[in-house]
Amino acid sequence: MKNLLEIKDITKVFGEGTVNEKVALNSVSLTLREGDFVTVIGNNGAGKSTLLNCIAGVYAIDKGSIVLDDKDITKLPEHKRARWMGRVFQDPLKGTAFDMTIEENLAIAYYKNRSRGLSPGITSKDRELFREKLSMLEMGLEDKMTQKVKLLSGGQRQALTLFMAAITEPKLLLLDEHTAALDPAAASKVLALTDRCAEDPKLCTLMITHNMKDALKHGNRTILMKDGRIVMDISGEEREQMTVEKLIEKFSIDNDRMLL
């Protein structure tokens, strides 16, 4: 498989030169191949979210380079990188425009890589397509397409955001603890949907999670971050042998939340 994302020696320091100086990423290198589904674990402050945000362009990096599909995107602003990336945030409020309807939100995501001219924001053809695709979520959203998003539950919103992120079949799907704010039932539903989105068509996915069991269960590769570095990167055989207990033993993980 071809290399899709090549991160070379990226460093990100917050509050440089102040007492609060924090090295969030310490020359991190990571290569993702096409079709990789990588789960990212680590304690709070390990740099997981910073890594994701640097890839997405939310933060400018201090050192290093990011190459996506042979294109250097290190200096591109967030909204320009977005055409190749789908993102789902931890906060269910962050992924959708709450005062607009479901179909309007979908249309905004759907036209991501096309011109935003003065043609109609949504056509009846789009509606049919959305209805058909939404019905696959089995959440009944296809019958609520003209309802405002603010009326949806957190789980429904995350499912919708995930769906919006994947609808344009981006090169990269970035998921930042997208189930952390949900109740267990909704979380497992959104995770199942995540697997489906990442599988068909095969999208290169990077998923941060607090849950080690989920991290080993989903995807084909797991990395563990600590103090701004990647300290473990397992896949294949080695990953299949790995258990939550071994992880704890090996890396003295001290966060109870991760054990669940």
């Binding site: 997405a56 602003p77 967030e78 909204h79 320009k80 977005a82 055409r83 990336m85 789908g86 993102r87 945030f89 409020l93 962050k94 992924g95 959708t96 425009a97 709450f98 005062d99 607009m100 309007e104 939100n105 249309a107 905004i108 995501a109 036209y111 991501k112 890589n113 096309r114 011109s115 935003r116 001219g117 003065l118 043609s119 109609p120 924001g121 949504i122 919006m164 992120a165």
Partner: protein, 306 residues
């Protein structure tokens, strides 16, 4: 004491103009979720340009287009200060409002007041075609309907969709590949363009332009938007646009009525502020108890009809 029928028609006529202002404020305040104080300056820019062109014997319709462009330029400058120089939106608006005072005076040839009593205006042209009693209202209504229709069509385009989403959720807009900065620039230019047009209409309607008439215009626009929302609802996009316009008309009627019950015209700014406070409070109550709001709304409606 209830106002006379003629006074009522007068408020309607003015209301149509202030509805254009309210739509402008709706764009920045509601759609972009950005308190924009440029309005107090850009409305005078519109008045000044409109008055100078009309007084110079120019085409009064062209004067209106000039007024809109002048307002849009002011909004664009606020937008640039905010997005490129990272000045807080509210401060950027205040700065442009301040600067606009000097610029407006220059546009007006350094006189604080330009009379248009002898010049041709769109209202005088309308008076020549329609019965003068209703001509101003009809003209205002036609312009208002055109603007609502154009605005509605724009907000229903692909570009309009992301524009509306910008005020809701900037992260989502960026994640969908659109620069929020560009949307804000577009929105502020569009919003103040409408405000400038309202100023241009106002100058031609009252047949003069005055350098000091901008004070409190943003508050008036905001009051109209909120009053409209409380009474006419926010369910669909079209409803919101119409509500803002009707809010502006209702607001003029309330002000005129305040004059009739014996308030001094110099107290009008105080009355404006009080109406805003009441409208905002009603909005707040609406979130807590829609029943109470419905009652209050009914109460206000009844007062207006009487």
């Amino acid at each position: 004491m209830i106002m006379t029928f003629a006074a009522f028609l007068g408020s309607l006529e003015l209301g149509m103009i202030y509805a254009v202002l309210a739509l402008g404020v709706f764009l920045s305040f509601r759609t972009l979720n950005m308190p924009d104080l440029t309005v107090d300056g850009s409305i005078v820019t519109g008045m000044a340009i409109s008055a100078v062109i009309c007084a110079g014997g120019g085409n009064p319709f062209l004067a209106l287009i000039g007024a809109a462009l002048g307002g849009a330029a002011a909004g664009l400058i606020t937008g640039l200060l905010h997005t490129k120089l990272k000045i807080q939106a509210i401060l950027a608006g205040i700065l442009v409002m301040l600067a606009a005072y000097s610029v407006n005076l220059r546009i007006m040839g350094k006189t604080p007041n330009i009379p248009l009593t002898k010049s041709t205006t769109v209202y005088k042209i309308a008076d020549g075609i329609l019965p003068p009693k209703y001509a101003g209202i009809v003209l205002g209504l036609v312009i208002l309907i055109i603007i609502i229709a154009l605005l509605y069509m724009f907000l229903e385009t692909r570009l309009g969709f992301v524009f509306r989403a910008t005020g809701d959720n900037e992260d989502m807009v960026k994640a969908c590949g659109v620069s929020c900065d560009n949307m804000k620039l577009l929105g502020l230019a569009l919003s103040n363009g409408l405000v400038g047009l309202a100023g241009g209409l106002l100058a031609q309607n009252q047949a003069f332009a005055d350098i000091n008439s901008g004070t409190g215009m943003m508050v008036i626009g905001l009051a109209s938007v909120i009053l409209g929302e409380v009474i006419f609802g926010t369910k669909t996009l079209m409803r919101r646009l119409v509500a803002a316009s009707l809010g502006a008309i209702l607001y003029r009627i309330l002000l005129a009525q305040a004059l009739y019950v014996g308030m001094e015209s110099t107290d009008m700014k105080l009355v404006s502020a009080i109406i805003v406070v009441i409208a905002l409070t009603l909005g707040l109550l609406g979130e807590k108890s829609s029943k109470l709001t419905r009652f209050s709304a009914k109460f206000i409606k009844r007062r207006v009809q009487r």
